[in-house]
Amino acid sequence: MNTARKNMDETISRKLLKNMLLCRKFEENVQYYFSLGMIHGTCHLGIGEEATAAGTCGALLPDDDMFATHRGHNAAICKGIDINHMMAEIFGKSTGVCKGHGGSMHIADKDVGILGANGIVGPSLALACGAAFAHKRRNEKCVALAFFGDGATNEGIFHESMNLASVWGLPVLFICTNNTYGMSTHISKVMKDTNLIDRAVPYKMKSAEVDGNDALLVYNTVKEARSYAIENSEPVFIVEDTYRISGHSKSDANLYRTKEEISEWKKKDPILNLEKQMLEAGLCSTEEIRQLEAEAADTVKAAVAYAIESPYPKVEDIYEDVYAE
């Protein structure tokens, strides 16, 4: 771990930082426009969890498939989605990546290996097994990756998918974003053994647990797991420990946790974390960081403008995408 920091790669760390800044700005804007009533529906923000997305997706190649959760903005951004079209989607516009059909909870773009965020807790694991199955069958050197939360590990589909991937030797990366809450429910209320990594035991699956607020560490862990999965044609289970600073969704009044807990975690902000590491390693200056922040803000501003200017989809076209040709 410390070696990872010592040998900090400038290109990588810069990429991770850029992506995290983009995530943060993106979600802050979504939150803002949501509060103005300009965004419809609900949305699940991952503020505070950016390192899990940036580190994890940063270690993937374009041909790798990624399946995200309801809290999937960050993962999509870090897997390389066009953020103009993603913002347009969240605004419900016809230029959205999903033509306005999906919204915040269903961001997908097959062209960059984003096979969809999911409104249902759990299925991402099974879907990733299938994508990995196809890769394996075609001898493609890539993986399928499934994000899911700590809460999701209590669903039956978690167990079935872990078992299937292990017994069939599917190159899947199972990434558990452990923010210790499923909505308001703390992990200790819903499992006796909160050591999530134990959940890989019955499947004899390789596993690892990392500080999910350390983007580089996440990156290195996932990169290694990716190689392992491809070389051995085997799944890997990774627990990334992090914290959700934002509320669960719009219905969250934060009644289940203390302000202190939130501020404690704010101190461990993954963006500040990486910035500090980069500064210490002399990989960038405070000025450069301000510069990167400004760029991220500009990019997102442009995306918002694009989204706002885009037209709404037309009801007359609604039947076009119900069935494929």
């Binding site: 419809h40 529906g41 609900t42 989607e89 419900g92 516009k93 959205g96 999903c98 306005g100 059909h101 999906g102 919204g103 915040s104 909870m105 269903h106 999911n118 409104g119 249902i120 807790v121 759990g122 809460g151 999701a152 209590n154 669903e155 039956g156 589909i157 499923g182 909505m183 308001s184 429910t185 209320k189 819903v190 499992m191 219905s251 969250d252 009044a253 009644l255 289940y256 709404y312 989809p313 037309k314 009801v315 609604i318 039947y319 119900v322």
Partner: protein, 328 residues
């Protein structure tokens, strides 16, 4: 003299649960984030304070296990109320709803009964897209052994839920998301509304509208508009969808000679078919002066974008024009 209180649909549901929990210690509540979080729609606010976390129980995200647990507890004589956060998530515990709860009484020769209520939030209009907006009642109504209830007002919600809790069969109680914040008068005194009885929410002479849930409210508004045009609508709110109050429908149709069915679920395979068939099979058929009409959501997954979502759903205006078409 009994007094009335104004309260929301959500409050009425909560009151029904609280009253029954006070009355019968076998009643308890299980579901995701129903304690301190208050449930995704705030329905169970503060209930854990009165009844404790032993009777208002936050569950792991394991719908199949906790619905199954509800069934097992019911079989052992308790009266669980299980909340499934969104009705779309019935999909992950469908075996419990299709193959376990409703079949035990019959398969086991009548010796076992399953007094279980499954409460769940149904319907669209909240911009939550295809996996959080469905109206799945028609699937439930195809399961003998189950009862299915959809209230359209706070008054009905309270009276029906109390009956559902006392019923000795599994009842799926579909709450209408967009009605949670709507208000209505609810009596102070205790009352029950029997399952299986429709309610005529408006008396009229020219066209029967058979509907339920939120669409009842929209139909009532449309009926006002239409009455200014001289068209008098009778509105039958089914309230219980299974078992269906066939007679209420047939009698109204015989009187008005015209039938519009309105629901929020997609049209194909929806409950509208069942209702139309009941009429087309009965002697009410001979009274019909025009074809029956169904007004329902377009046959597409619920789209996210507000314009699309609104576009695929029935609304007041579409109901009014559908009536005009039927009587025209």
């Amino acid at each position: 003299m009994s007094t009335q209180n104004e309260m929301t649909y959500a409050q009425a549901i909560k009151e029904a649960m609280c009253e029954e929990m006070r009355r019968d210690e076998n009643v308890f509540l299980m579901g995701e984030d129903i304690g301190v979080y208050r449930g995704a729609f705030g329905v169970t606010q503060d209930m854990y304070k009165e009844f404790g976390t032993e009777r208002v129980i936050d569950t792991p995200i394991s719908e199949a296990a906790f619905v199954g647990c509800g069934i097992g507890a019911a079989v052992e004589g308790m009266r669980p109320i299980v909340e499934i956060m969104f009705s779309d998530f019935m999909s992950v515990c469908w075996d419990m709803i299709l193959n376990q709860a409703p079949k035990m009484h019959f398969m086991f020769g009548g010796k076992v009964s399953v007094p279980l209520v499954i409460r769940t939030a149904s319907g669209c209009g909240t911009g939550a897209a295809a996996q959080h907006s469905q109206s799945l009642e028609a699937m439930l109504c195809h399961i003998p052994g189950l009862k299915v209830v959809v209230p359209s007002t706070p008054f009905d919600a309270k009276g029906l839920l109390k009956s559902a809790i006392r019923d000795n069969n599994p009842v799926v109680f579909l709450e209408q998301k967009l009605l949670y914040r709507t208000k209505g008068m609810v009596p102070d005194r205790e009352y029950l509304i029997p399952l299986g009885k429709a309610d005529t929410k408006r008396i009229g002479t020219d066209c029967t509208i058979v509907t339920y849930g939120r669409m009842t409210q929209l139909s009532l508004k449309a009926a006002e508009t239409l009455s200014n045009e001289g068209i008098s609508c009778e509105i039958i709110d089914l309230r219980t969808l299974l078992p269906l109050d066939r007679m209420a429908v047939l009698e109204s149709v015989k009187k008005t000679k015209h039938l519009l069915i309105v629901h929020e679920a997609v049209k194909t395979g929806g409950l509208g078919g069942e209702i139309a068939a009941e009429v087309a099979e009965s002697d009410a058929f001979y009274y019909l002066d025009a074809p029956i009409k169904r007004l329902a959501a377009e046959d597409v997954p619920v789209p996210f974008s507000a314009v699309l979502e609104k576009g695929v759903l029935p609304d007041e205006e579409k109901i009014a024009s559908a009536v005009r078409e039927v009587v025209g």
